[in-house]
């Protein structure tokens, strides 16, 4: 049963991963025979590469805004869809669509058209008398915002997970709350939210990992510009590997990212005792 999976895992995953550890310790440039240079690539990233820090900064800002916004939005829509409406199935599908197509090239190009110079956003604002010289994508202060907005818009998969979790919350809890005359806000903070914490935790980890991996948007919409203000970490890694022929260094960057994501995950797991509520565990 597991054989095909195992085969794929080892061949497409494990072996490349191990090889990339080796490459990260060499001066491999895709074309040469790699020679071992120890930790030079790692040292170079931390001590001699301003663009590395810039890419790291951009990605951290992206993750710190994207994840809470996306989760809040996903939960909000999930709660709306948890009611009984006509055509609910249709809405669920509609809200999920951005997540399927959101990371695609086509949508990225559409966003570029909307927020670029003389795009829809600029024209609309102009109609309201707000004239801008530069577009949102051409402004170093707002370009990343556009990219984050596009990320938030792809809230569908978190929403579906929230929706199924909402359905799991026993109706009896809400009934007794109603009997006690609890206000909706109180019901939300005292019942819904605590019951959802395992799901929030799960979504949080998933979205943080996803957030650090942002690539398509910054590659297609802005190509990292203007002035590297949207240069995501993975895009920089890609450039290093395939445009600058700096594969060894790029592999080192990849492993630094693995370490960063690892630290986040471990820290989150450590904190979960204080805020994540598992039904079976306590009591």
């Amino acid at each position: 049963m597991l054989t095909p999976w195992l085969f794929g895992f080892v061949l497409m995953w494990l072996i490349p991963m191990i090889i990339s550890i080796y490459y990260s310790l060499t001066d491999f440039n895709l074309l040469n025979t790699p020679s071992f240079i120890g930790l030079d690539n790692y040292v170079r990233a931390f001590t001699g590469d301003a663009t590395f820090w810039q890419a790291l900064k951009v990605t951290f800002i992206y993750v710190f805004f994207l994840v809470p916004l996306r989760l809040a939005f996903a939960l909000f829509v999930a709660m709306l869809l948890n009611k009984d409406h006509r055509g609910l199935g249709l809405y669920r599908t509609l809200y999920y669509i951005p997540s399927i197509i959101g990371g695609s090239i086509a949508v990225s190009i559409v966003w570029k058209q909307i927020f670029g110079n003389q795009g829809v956003a600029m024209t609309l604002l102009g109609a309201f008398g707000i004239e801008q010289k530069t577009s949102f994508l051409g402004n170093t202060h707002t370009a990343l915002g556009v990219i984050i907005l596009m990320g938030v818009w792809q809230f569908g998969s978190s929403m579906l997970i929230f929706l199924s979790a909402l359905k799991q919350i026993p109706g009896s809890l809400y009934e007794s709350a109603m009997v006690d005359g609890a206000k909706p806000w109180k019901v939300f903070t005292k019942i819904t939210l605590p019951m959802l914490t395992p799901t929030i935790f799960f979504n949080l980890i998933l979205q943080i990992v996803n957030g650090f991996r942002v690539f398509t948007e910054s590659y297609v919409i802005t190509d990292g510009g203007p002035l590297d203000s949207t240069l995501s970490y993975v895009l920089y890694m890609y450039r290093r590997a395939f445009t600058y022929f700096d594969m060894g260094y790029s592999c080192a960057l990849a492993w630094i990212l693995v370490a960063i994501i690892g630290v986040f995950t471990v820290v989150l797991f450590k904190t979960q005792g204080s805020w994540v509520h598992y039904e079976a565990g306590r009591e």
């Binding site: 895709l30 570029k112 530069t134 051409g138 170093t140 002035l227 445009t243």
Partner: protein, 468 residues
């Protein structure tokens, strides 16, 4: 390592063996086909000791007219894809034992893919190469030395200008064969110039004339005087540096070649002023213009006056607007240093790992020198390198007005051309990125030109020192 090398040598041989066996069954037309083409084979490298390992296999293949498949890749637009396909079909009909496996591509992503293929040992046999990456590939021994095919007469270079031919040479190795020449030019839309009441430029104009023209167009017509990305790569800057008597890179490629940052400051300031006067799109505006594609660009549609481009620009957009004219780029004020150079347009290189080098070299020779191949391609890749072919194309009467102007422009510009600079150093794409960033920081008003110049110098020197 040893074992690895050995394996690498055995694998192609084993594969070739399998191919030979599988073809033996159905090879009868292949044999007759080869009898016809066999006489064209020069006495191959059998006597040449350096190639000992591969020679027996190759030799036999050509001698027996064994069927061979040549894998080939290039970048370009649809026109080039169609033409190259037709040329290859024609070659197959002349040499039935040679068939092709073609992978056309756009410029975007072409070199990303090529680097991956090369890393995995599956570089196509014939690769269209750009000056930008030639050094990188040559230095890493990914490209075959074509000198032996020139020496043994497979590739005839007698019609090619010696300086131009040498542009394919890296560290004493003929890493690639140049296919065409190009020159920096200014393309302009005469209608826009006329509307603004500006005289059409002549080849003795200067940068001051250029700036004045752009500003006049803007003030008279409210159109862009010039519409382009001035810092998309370092070619225009290279021209500028050469006009000041410097060179962009030092001889050893380990640092920038010009001493005084004023060169950079003046360059960026000129463009920045044009942007400030709305005579040129700023990077933000240009990002949107670029999405239109060249054929729908403002110069073509009559919404801008001029553009600095390669000299095949007018010919390239002639399907949309056939009135675009070209002129040599502006001269430096009060200096007669020859900044212009004949840039090798593009190259064909043969993969070092190719098992069909001889056949590939024969094809390249035919591609460059034969009338019938060039009749199909019609100089789409730029002015052909072979003087005989150029003459043939002019005589054939099939060239369009823009193409004839391009051919004549090359002859006329020769007087303005200095020595062709060495191929771009390894790390050039990173240098270009640093250059773009430094210049854009000025265009976005986030740095002074002086600071940007210093930042570019520091970054570029670090990149060049690391790569060369």
């Amino acid at each position: 390592m040893k074992r690895h090398e050995k394996f690498k040598r055995i694998l192609p041989a084993a594969l070739a063996g399998v191919m030979v066996l599988s073809m033996a069954g159905c090879g009868s037309d292949g044999k007759t086909g080869d009898a016809a083409s066999g006489d064209a084979q020069p006495a191959a490298a059998g006597t040449d000791g350096t190639q000992a390992a591969d020679v027996p296999a190759d030799d036999q293949a050509s001698a027996d007219g064994e069927n061979v498949v040549i894998k080939m890749t290039w970048w370009g637009g649809q026109t080039r894809h169609d033409q190259t396909q037709a040329v290859c079909d024609l070659y197959t009909s002349l040499h039935p034992n040679v068939t092709f496996e073609l992978s056309p591509s756009g410029w975007d992503g072409y070199f990303d893919k090529l680097s991956t293929q090369t890393a995995s040992g599956s570089m196509p046999d014939i690769v269209q190469m750009d000056y930008l990456y030639l050094t990188t590939y040559a230095k890493n021994n990914s490209l075959a030395d074509l000198q032996e095919f020139i020496d043994n007469g497979t590739i005839d270079v007698s019609g090619i200008d010696e300086n131009l031919l040498q542009t394919g040479s890296v560290d004493g190795k003929m890493a690639a064969m140049v296919l065409s020449t190009s020159l920096l030019n200014v393309g302009y839309n005469p209608a826009v110039l006329q509307e603004a009441g500006v005289e059409e430029p002549t080849s003795d104009w200067t940068w001051n004339d250029f700036v004045a023209m752009c500003e006049t167009i803007q003030s008279k017509t409210d159109k862009y005087g010039v519409s382009m990305d001035s810092v998309a790569d370092t070619n225009i800057f290279n021209y500028w540096v050469r006009q000041q008597g410097g060179s962009l890179f030092s001889d050893d490629n380990k640092s920038l070649g010009y001493e005084d940052d004023k060169v950079f400051v003046d360059f960026v300031t000129m463009w920045n002023d044009l942007m400030g006067k709305e005579a040129m799109p700023d990077p933000d505006e240009y990002a949107q213009i670029a999405t239109l594609g060249q054929e729908a660009g403002p110069v073509v549609t009559g919404d801008a006056g001029a553009i600095i481009e390669w000299n095949n620009y007018a010919s390239k957009v002639s399907t949309v607007n056939d009135s675009i004219k070209m002129v040599t780029p502006p001269l430096a004020e009060g200096s007669d240093t020859k900044g212009l150079w004949m840039k090798p347009g593009m190259f064909f290189a043969i993969a070092e790992k190719s098992t069909v080098k001889q056949e590939a070299a024969e094809f390249i020779n035919w591609f460059i020198n034969s009338d019938e191949a060039n009749d199909i391609m019609m100089a789409e890749r730029g002015t052909p390198v072979s003087s005989a072919v150029r003459q043939h194309l002019i005589d054939s009467g099939n060239l369009g007005e823009q193409q004839i102007a391009m051919f004549e422009g090359v002859e006329a510009a020769a007087a303005l051309c200095g020595e062709t600079p060495a191929p771009d150093p390894a790390g050039i794409s990173e240098v270009n990125e640093a250059f773009k960033k430094a210049a854009n920081s000025v265009y976005y008003g986030q740095a002074s030109a002086e600071d940007a110049a210093a930042a570019f110098r520091e970054e570029a020197n670090a990149i060049l020192a690391r790569n060369n």
